[in-house]
C-alpha cells in the first residue's frame, strides 16, 4: 500500500480527514490479505477464463482465437441441453417435495409445548453434517439392485425390485432422494428461524376468527415467511444446478447420460482437456444461474 493511494488530509469529502495516520492506514492493512487472495484466486482467473472461452486451448501449446465458436458449439449441442434438462428435472423432483416436508416439520417444531424438540432438530440436521462423498458411497450400497437394503425392504413388503441406479427412469429419483435426505434438515432450520420471528398474536387473532389449522398455515404462516421460503428456494436452486459429487460418485452420470447434471457436464470438459469449451460452458452456467436467481428475487419483490 503506497501513500499516494491515500486521501490527502485536506480533501473535504473524506471523513478520515484529520484523523491520525495509523487510523487512516489501518483499514487498508486489514483488508490487504483478503484483497490479495481475492484478486489472485477470484478476479484474475475469472478474467482469464473469459478470454479463454473464445479460444480452442487444450491446456498446452498455443491457443487459437475461435470467436464465438465454443458458445455456438454448446448451444447447438444436444448433450449440453441434455445436461441442463437433467438438472431441471432434478430441480422439479427435489424442490416441491423438500419444501413441503421442511415446512411441515418446521411448523410442528415451532410449537414450544412439543416434547423432544431438541432430539428432532438434532436428528434432522445429522444428514447435513455428514460428508457428502461418504453418504454417496452409502447410497451406492443401499440402493444396489441385488444386494441393497432398500430393495430388501421392498421385498419384505412383497413389492418388486427396483433398478435404482441402473435404469434411466430411476437414477434421477435416486439422486433426488439423496439430495433431499442430505439438505432438508438445513432447510428446516432456516424455515424455523423464519417462523420464530412471527409474532404469536397473529395466530391468536386467527384462532378467534375460527380459522382451521391448514387454513392458518396457508393464509397466515406461508405469506409471513415468504421471504425465508424464497431464500431457501434460491439457495437450493443454486445447489441443484451445481450438483456434482452426487452423480460423480453414485452414477458417474449414467445410465445413458440420464444423470449428467450441468455441474458434471462442465467437469467432463476438464477430463477431456477441452478447456476452451469448458470456459464457455462456465459462463453460460453463470448467466443461467444469475438469471434464475434474479428472476426469483424479482418475483419476490413484485409480491411485496
Amino acid at each position: 500500500m503506497t501513500t499516494t493511494s491515500l486521501p490527502r488530509a485536506t480533501h473535504p469529502r473524506r471523513r478520515g480527514a484529520g484523523l491520525p495516520i495509523t487510523r487512516r492506514l489501518a483499514p487498508y492493512v486489514f483488508v490487504a490479505p483478503f484483497v490479495v487472495l481475492f484478486l489472485a484466486f477470484g478476479i484474475y482467473p475469472m478474467l482469464f477464463t473469459l478470454r479463454l472461452s473464445f479460444t480452442n486451448w487444450h491446456g498446452a501449446g498455443s491457443a487459437r482465437w475461435v470467436g464465438w465458436d465454443n458458445y455456438t458449439y454448446l448451444l447447438t449441442n444436444p448433450a449440453f441441453w441434455n445436461s441442463l434438462a437433467n438438472s431441471a428435472v432434478l430441480w422439479l423432483l427435489i424442490i416441491p417435495v423438500q419444501l413441503v416436508i421442511a415446512l411441515a416439520a418446521a411448523i410442528l417444531l415451532d410449537n414450544a409445548k412439543l416434547r423432544m424438540r431438541g432430539f428432532y432438530r438434532t436428528a434432522f440436521i445429522v444428514p447435513f453434517v455428514t460428508p457428502l462423498v461418504a453418504v454417496a458411497q452409502i447410497w451406492v450400497v443401499l440402493f444396489d439392485q441385488n444386494y441393497g437394503a432398500v430393495n430388501a425392504v421392498l421385498g419384505a413388503l412383497g413389492l418388486p425390485d427396483i433398478a435404482w441406479l441402473t435404469s434411466s427412469a430411476w437414477a434421477k429419483p435416486t439422486l433426488a432422494l439423496l439430495f433431499i435426505w442430505k439438505t432438508t434438515g438445513f432447510i428446516i432450520v432456516i424455515l424455523l428461524s423464519g417462523l420464530q420471528a412471527i409474532d404469536s398474536s397473529v395466530y391468536e387473532a386467527a384462532a378467534l376468527d375460527g380459522a382451521g389449522r391448514m387454513r392458518k398455515v396457508w393464509s397466515i404462516t406461508v405469506p409471513l415467511i415468504r421471504r425465508t421460503l424464497m431464500f431457501a428456494v434460491v439457495l437450493q436452486t443454486l445447489a441443484v444446478f451445481q450438483m456434482f459429487a452426487e452423480p460423480f460418485v453414485v452414477t458417474q452420470g449414467g445410465p445413458y447420460s440420464s444423470t449428467t447434471t450441468a455441474g458434471l457436464y462442465l467437469y467432463n470438459h476438464i477430463t477431456r482437456g477441452d478447456l476452451g469449451t469448458g470456459a464457455a460452458n462456465s459462463f453460460l452456467l453463470v448467466i443461467l444461474v444469475m438469471a434464475l436467481s434474479l428472476g426469483m428475487v424479482r418475483l419476490l419483490r413484485a409480491k411485496d
Binding site: 478520515g16 440436521i125 445429522v126 437394503a149 425392504v153
Partner: protein
Amino acid sequence: MTLSTQAGERRRRHLGSHAFLVVLAVAFLAPVVWAVLSAFKPANDIIRHPLEFDPSTFGLQNFVGMFQDVPIAHGFLNTAIVLLVKGSITLFCAPLAAYAFAKYDFRGKSLLFGTVLITLMLPTIVLIIPLLLEMKELGWVNTYQALILPGAVDAFAIFWMRQVIAAVPDELLDAARVDGCGEFGLYWRIVVPIIRPGLAGLAVLTVMNIYNDFVWPVVVASSERMATLQVVLSTLASTISGNKIGADYATVTGELLAASTVALVPLLVIFFLLQKHFINGILAGSVKG
C-alpha cells in the same frame, strides 16, 4: 368446550405431530445408523442379509481390510493439514477484513464490498476451470498451496462477519482509543472477545466446509500423495462399481462402509459437542421474515 376435552384434543394433535416427526427422524437417521452398524458385520452378511443385525457376529474385519487396502490414513493427514492451515487463514483474514468494512471508511470500500456481494451469487463450480488453469501456470497442481489458498477467504465469511461486527458499539472503540489502544489492539482486545460466539459459528462452519470439500480437491490434487480424505473415499467408489460380482463385491462393500464410517465420525463428534454454534452458523446467512 371444557378444559379437559381441550387438553385431550391437544394431546391427540401432538400425537399426530410426533408420528410425522418420528417417521422423518427415522428416515434421516436410518442410512447413517445402517451404514455404521453394517460396517461391523461380516462382509458377506451385509449383502446377503442387509436388514439383519446380530451383535454376536460383529467384528472389525472390514476396518482391518480397509486400512490395508485404502490409503485412508494418508487422506486424513492431508485433510488435517489443509484444515489447519486453510482454517487458520480464513479465521484470521475474514473477520479482520470484515472489521475494516464494518468500522472504517476507506477508498474503494463500496466497490470492494459490492464485488464481495456479487461473488456470493456465483456458483462455485464456475471458478473450477479458471483456477485449475492458474494452478497449472503456477505449477501448483498436486500441491498443498493449491488445496489451501484458493477459497481460503470466502465472500460469505466476510459478509457474515461484517454483520456481526457492525453490532459492536462504536463508543466502546472510541473509549479504548482514548485510552491509547492501537488500531489492531482494538480489534484484538475489544472486538474479538465480543464477537466470540459468531467466530465460533464461523469456525465450525469453516471446518465442515473444508472437511467436506470435494470438487476442488478432486480436480486439482487427485494424485495418491495429495488426495484428501474425500478424494480417497471417492476412488473407492470406482473400485466398487468395477467389482460387481459375488464375494469381491461383499468385501469391497464391507470396506467401503468401514471407510464411510471412519469419515463420518469426526464431523458427527464435532457436531454433537458444538451443536449450538453449529446451528447459529447455519442461521447466520439466512433471511428472516
